[in-house]
Symmetry: C2
Subunit: 138 residues, 2 copies
Amino acid sequence: MQTSDLKKAGLKATLPRMKILNFLESSRVRHMSAEEVYKAMLEAGEDVGLATIYRVLTQFETAGLVTRHHFEEGHSVFELNLGEHHDHIVCVKCGHIEEFFDPTIEERQHKIAEEKGFDMTDHALYIYGICAQCKKEA
Amino acid sequence: MQTSDLKKAGLKATLPRMKILNFLESSRVRHMSAEEVYKAMLEAGEDVGLATIYRVLTQFETAGLVTRHHFEEGHSVFELNLGEHHDHIVCVKCGHIEEFFDPTIEERQHKIAEEKGFDMTDHALYIYGICAQCKKEA
DNA sequence: AAACGGAATGAGAATTTTTCGCATCTTGAG
DNA sequence: CTCAAGATGCGAAAAATTCTCATTCCGTTT
Ligand SMILES: [Mn+2]
Ligand SMILES: [Mn+2]
Ligand SMILES: [Zn+2]
Ligand SMILES: [Zn+2]
């Protein structure tokens, strides 16, 4: 969390933006809605307006600092971009999320976009199911 | 569009449900939001309340008659289930959607769910990009 | 270090999407 | 045909997100 990270992303290094970036970097929870970020920051004593959370997360997304996900819950979920792209498998019972990367799938996706004449800009793969834990408890 | 289709799905064959199912079956547009279904039906002289559209589409989804998609627009998009499962490639410029099915990807998904200890219930793959048409117009 | 201009923030209002509550109307069983 | 359970419509309410605009902050220039 350096002001330079924001500068590099073409964003002014403002206090709210620093706080949000810091929070995301230090949070053990990797996938959070804007509302969740807002509340968690409040509890941590970092008071940033909800509208600003929304604005900044969207700016971070545009700058490539975070990824926005559209799971089945009907609201956006954000994740700080560390390292490389990955996809998600989500438990529909408890919300537990695991990440994975499959080169074969990635390659097929590029091939399909090409075949269809698209310039691929992005892609998202979500697998839904019941996690091992929830299966046991059933 | 038979009352039997609804009965089979465990739903009473009510007039609004019949109208909505008919509309979906006869619509040239395959992927529509609740609002779009509502407006299109109004124009077609079939007046069904918006709340009912939402309720019925959700019931149809539960019954397996339609699929609900979560594209990047922030609202649900519905599609009548004809034949078999498929995934989508969406143009981020014009909204054009093409469908595809890739056995290799499907198989890898099952494998991944298995490896992670999940009982897979569903999955969604969205590829985003610029379609051939929009590339030309750029 | 003070000043300035443009950009960012906060708070609440406003939008957008979806759900709820309840009085009224239908459907399907008997 | 009658009746109860269930469905619909409408407007109110929720939930998620964006917008407005007065105030504040950041970065650059004196
Ligand atoms: Mn992730
Ligand atoms: Mn489709
Ligand atoms: Zn679980
Ligand atoms: Zn296009």
